[in-house]
């Protein structure tokens, strides 16, 4: 491995982590809608919709506007908007008699816009049942120029419905997994180097870095299950990615058992290096391929935050990637301390002989 000398990378890791911690916790969330009532209506009805917002400024905004959207060219604007306070607003809608498509029950998306919070949406806010009517008149539907909507100024994280503020966990929980993988790859590199050269120092490095990576994995499982408890209300879900990573952790815990089992250092080094290479190869289909074949609550599937075009917002990226780098650097720092300890012990052991 490239010998990184000096203190600078450790300081860098700490500073980047501080940046992630401060930025990740202080950047506000986008405005969003937490609650709407009623959720069902019939065509032709006049409804008053009660909306509770999150991080909204209905009262201080000069002009609140709201629409219900059926598809990209059919909108109904609220006839009047009554704001009680910053968080609550009453919207009056006159639903048209006809709907743009033929289905019996149609979901409408609610869009609210003001100059402070910008525009924000709640998909499937209202389900409209089409009542029997022979009219076929779409004139009540309007079009909406998206350019006329306001944009919120400043940095914000995207608002997602169940996740709310826990979207910030992307920087801690998700980044932990990525850092774990990078550390495992570094450990793998040392394992291969050990098998190639037979220098005992590589074994120390590989084992210690792997151990720190396993520690990250355990943190990942704990933090993940805490997060799941407050978003999906269970500590453990049947989610594929979760279960696959649990299997991965089992495989690496077996690695620890293997290291603990043998006493002869030379043989132990050889066995555990081979095992870790084998285990890493067994892990690749597990974590990267299988979850992609099936549905998952996790990144990329079902509208959850993490990687993948729309899901990882640019502002999230601003903290997510630095967080991975910081966690890797901190992990390397921790493992370097342990490695120095192991080297000292090895030296003392040699002297005794």
């Amino acid at each position: 491995m490239i010998k990184i000398k000096g203190l600078w990378w450790k300081a860098l890791g700490a500073i980047i982590f501080l940046y992630v911690l401060i930025g990740g916790m202080t950047v506000p969330l986008n405005s969003g809608i937490t609650y709407t009532n009623p959720s069902n209506a019939k065509t032709g009805q006049r409804i008053v919709m009660e909306v509770t917002g999150y991080n909204t400024h209905f009262k201080s905004a000069l002009q609140n506007r709201a629409w219900l959207k059926a598809d990209s060219s059919h909108f109904i604007q609220a006839t009047s908007v009554q704001q009680n306070d910053e968080m609550h607003v009453l919207l009056h809608f006159d639903l048209p008699f006809t709907m743009p498509s033929k289905e019996k029950v149609q979901p409408l998306t609610l869009i609210i816009d003001n100059e402070i919070d910008g525009a924000f949406v709640q998909p499937n806010a209202l389900f409209v049942t089409v009542s029997d009517s022979l009219q076929n008149d779409l004139s009540q539907w309007q079009t909406l120029q998206l350019g006329s909507l306001n944009k919120k100024s400043g940095l914000t994280f995207p608002y997602r419905n169940i996740l709310n503020e826990t979207i910030r966990n992307t920087f801690f929980h998700v980044a932990l997994w990525f850092a774990m993988f990078i550390l495992l790859i570094i450990g793998l590199y040392h394992a291969i180097q050990y098998l190639r050269t037979g220098i005992y120092d590589h074994d120390i490095q590989s084992a210690t870095i792997n151990k720190v990576a396993i520690m990250y994995g355990v943190f990942g499982l704990i933090t993940g299950s805490i997060w799941a408890k407050f978003t999906w209300n269970t500590f453990w879900t049947t989610d594929v990615k979760l279960n696959m990573t649990a299997v991965a952790m089992l495989i690496y815990l077996a690695y620890l058992v293997l290291r603990g089992a043998s006493t002869d250092t030379d043989r132990r080094a050889k066995l555990s290096a081979s095992y870790s290479i084998f285990a890493f190869l067994a892990l690749i289909p597990l974590v990267f391929v299988i979850p992609r074949l099936t549905d998952s609550l996790h990144p990329g599937n079902g509208g959850n935050p993490a990687l993948g075009g729309e899901d990882l917002d640019n502002t999230l990226r601003l903290f997510f990637y630095p967080s991975i780098i910081a966690l890797v650097l901190l992990g390397m720092w921790m493992s370097q301390l342990k490695i120095r300890y192991e080297r000292l012990q090895e030296k003392i052991f040699q002297n005794q002989k």
């Binding site: 299997v247 077996a254 043989r267 050889k270 066995l271 081979s274 285990a279 597990l286 074949l293």
Partner: protein, 218 residues
Amino acid sequence: MNIIKVKDIFIKELSVEFRQKFALGGIFLFAATVVFIIYKSFNNINPREWTILLWIIMLFAGLNAVVKSFLQEKKETYLYYYTLFDPVDLMIAKLLYNFVFLIFLFCMILGFMTIFSGFPVKLPGLFVSGSVLGILGIAIVFTFVSVISAADNTNATLMSILALPLVLPIVMLLLKISAVSVRLLSDTSVNEDVMLLAGVDSVLLGAMLLLFPSLWRS
């Protein structure tokens, strides 16, 4: 790689196995007993349980069987082999032997399961291809782990601790494939799963071929 030598070792393994009839019989007895216990406790087994039980019995019976293949021999024998054969030859022969043995065991368990609780497989082609690939994967992992635990001079406990987690991803894929083959799930991407299984097998085989010589030297 020398095919004749591989064949020689393979035949030697087989003859050793058939000479120790009690060990062979023990494993088959184990399989039969477990199937019978399960049959008695479930009475009628639906297809879901059938596939799960099939693989669980297979896993544990297979583990029992393979543990011996490297542990039964003494250190001196290894030294003798070391002078005689190329490690790759030896490993391929052992792998081949384990594979054949596991297939044989699988057919046995399948036979018992069919006698006691029917044969719910609706897509035999998929079932057979998936099972063969899966058993190959299991054989690779078990052989590799038995090499490790034999090199470590420790008992069979280490082997099962190491082997079970490693074999889990393969078994999970297998369970999915067999669930599709008994029509519990309908999945259009099941061919991808079979391909994935083949991919896993080849990657693990490659890794084992690379790693075995360095392990062998110890």
